[in-house]
């Protein structure tokens, strides 16, 4: 009970800090914070696909891109933001479902290659199909939405807008992973053959894991476009997919709070290291390498190891709990 209370207080403190944070920053800082919120949403999606359901995907950048282009294309043609926002999520959900089919046949690095090819393909469409995407010139003057008549044009207002979306997406993800679906996703990751023999329709859950992750990528994209207000193909290349993968893995793959921390490392840490001037990307790379070598389970895996040292599984639990078997 006290632990639950402590967790609530900690969450409230973090929430208050996040709401108040933009007052401490110049517009660029607020922009970076907004980017953190948007990337957290995309990483939450990838964490569902990869961390919970165990399906390796290098396609998340493509879904962020599709979401961003759908929003940019339609809002610059006068569509209301909310309809494009919903459409971005739905389009990505549908494409994610289709991309799940290869995952029914191949796994692990083979699946990584399939999804990598998909990212490249989508990038080429963004760059080459000028009639639709504007090619390398991209789409500019993407309007920011307004909520109940309040314009979200100012950096702070738009940051709060993104933060509110992050909160909603987090609650939905929390609800989902604690549902029977969440349990089925973990079963899919841990032992698909056994899951299948227990009545879990692994085919349908695999497709659903892809579709849900992709849908959240699309929603992140729908926020990304009005955040940067100008999009071109370059941010949606393979680099972003790898970066999103880094966020999930560094934060702690399969941990609910992993993506938030991972997105902090990937989006905010490089900025904080700017005091090292020309060396900041190098310092960043070294930090990430050290973390991955010493803690492959990510930051939350590290935290769990420090706070909850697990007893040696067999020796510690088997003997004291012998009564259940000696009864016969």
């Amino acid at each position: 009970m006290t632990r639950r209370l402590l967790a609530c207080v900690a969450l409230a403190a973090i929430a208050a800090f996040l709401v108040a944070a933009p007052f401490a920053f110049k517009p660029y800082g607020v922009f970076i914070l907004s980017m953190w919120a948007v990337m957290s949403i995309a990483a939450i999606g990838l964490n569902l696909t990869l961390g919970f359901a165990g399906q390796v995907s290098l396609a998340q950048a493509a879904f962020v891109g599709i979401g961003a282009y759908v929003t940019a294309y339609l809002t610059t043609r006068g569509w209301p933001f909310w309809s494009t926002y919903a459409l971005a999520g739905l389009v990505c959900f549908a494409i994610g479902w289709l991309l799940g089919y290869p995952a029914l046949r191949v796994q692990h690095h083979y699946l990584a290659f399939v999804t990598l090819a998909f990212t490249t393909l989508v990038y080429l469409v963004f760059r080459n199909e000028e009639w639709l995407t504007g090619g390398i010139y991209g789409i500019s003057n993407i309007p920011r939405p307004s909520v109940l008549g309040w314009p979200m044009d100012a950096p702070r207002a738009f940051y709060w807008f993104c933060l509110a979306h992050l909160v909603l997406v987090s609650l939905a993800a929390w609800w989902l992973i604690r549902s029977p679906w969440g349990r089925a996703f973990v079963a899919l990751r841990e032992n698909p053959v056994r899951a299948l023999s227990l009545g879990v329709d692994t085919r349908r859950y695999t497709l659903m894991a892809f579709a849900l992750g992709a849908g959240l990528g699309g929603i992140a994209g729908a926020l990304y476009a009005p955040l940067v207000q100008y999009i071109d193909p370059s941010p949606f290349a393979l680099g972003l997919s790898l970066n999103l993968l880094l966020m999930v893995v560094v934060g702690g793959s399969g941990y609910f709070f992993g993506p938030f921390l991972g997105a902090m490392v990937a989006v905010l840490l490089p900025e904080w290291l700017r005091f090292t001037e020309g060396y900041y990307l190098m310092a960043y790379a070294v930090l990430v390498i050290v973390l991955m070598v010493f803690c492959p389970a990510g930051l939350l895996g590290l935290a769990e190891r420090i706070w909850r040292p697990r007893p040696l599984p067999r020796a510690a639990t088997a003997e004291p709990s012998a009564p259940p078997v000696s009864a016969s």
Binding site: V186, N191, R194, A195, V200, T317, S321, V325, S328
Partner: protein, 248 residues
């Protein structure tokens, strides 16, 4: 009375190798059938063909008179056929109770109703009942991966019975289990059979275990049934002794 399970001329080839060469048998309600045979005699392949993990080359499988040959394992499971595997198969990162809830959750409603409907639907009560039955109650909230091997084997068996199956196929339930645990497992399986009239097929190498548990035994060698009968008959059968020990 129709048989719960009918297997008819089942055959499985892998290229030129015939793993199962025309096996037929029937199983009555409430029966415990043992399948024994030397390593490589086709026992597990036979299971995998019956359960849809492998598609048989020929022959058919009927459940309560209905043909189910080649049906997907998850659909077959929802029709009431459950199994355990030769190698231990549990979900180590879920708690013991969650392992059981997972084993039951796909049996009711649709995928959507599982997400939006009531979360529990009596599953944790049922899980606790199974844990009590298999004497795993005190371990309910432990991670399954932290249990001893024997306890994991019991959990594995408990998962197979979570949804109240019509028929359970157990592949070497006693493999690697110590003596006390073995007695407990045998006792629990007998109790399930007696109390709920559950029907099983058990593959096992531990002769003592098979002889004590099963009503009837099939002996498989090189993909064929070479003998069958009650435990005492099988034990005396010269063909069985030959298959196990080679020519005298």
């Amino acid at each position: 009375m129709t048989a719960v399970l009918e297997v008819h001329g089942l055959e499985k080839r892998f290229g030129g190798i015939v793993a199962v060469a025309g096996v037929s048998f029937e199983l009555k309600e409430g029966e415990i059938l043992g399948i024994i045979g030397p390593n490589g005699s086709g026992k597990s392949t036979l299971f995998n063909c019956i359960l849809g993990q492998l598609r048989p080359t020929a022959g058919d499988v009927r459940l309560d008179g209905r043909t189910v040959t080649g049906m997907r394992p998850c659909d077959l499971n929802r029709l009431g056929v459950s199994r355990t595997f030769q190698l231990l198969q549990i979900f180590p990162q879920l708690s013991v109770r969650e392992n059981l809830i997972l084993a039951g959750q796909e049996h009711k409603g649709t995928m959507l109703s599982r997400l939006f409907g009531p979360r529990d639907a009596g599953l944790s009560a049922r899980a606790d009942e199974m844990l009590g039955f298999f004497r795993l109650g005190p371990l309910a909230d432990e991670l399954a991966g932290g249990l001893s091997y024997g306890q994991q084997k019991l959990l594995d068996a408990a998962m197979a019975f979570m949804a109240g199956p019509r028929l359970a196929l157990l592949d070497e339930p006693a493999g690697g289990v110590n003596l006390t645990m073995l007695a407990s497992l045998r006792d629990r399986l007998k109790a399930i059979n007696a109390e709920f009239g559950a029907t099983f097929v058990v593959i096992e190498h531990n002769m003592e275990f098979v002889m004590a548990l099963c009503h009837r035994i099939l002996v498989l060698a090189e993909g064929r049934i070479i003998a069958q009968g009650d435990p005492a008959e099988v034990r005396r059968d010269p063909r069985v002794i030959e298959a196990y020990l080679g020519h005298a």
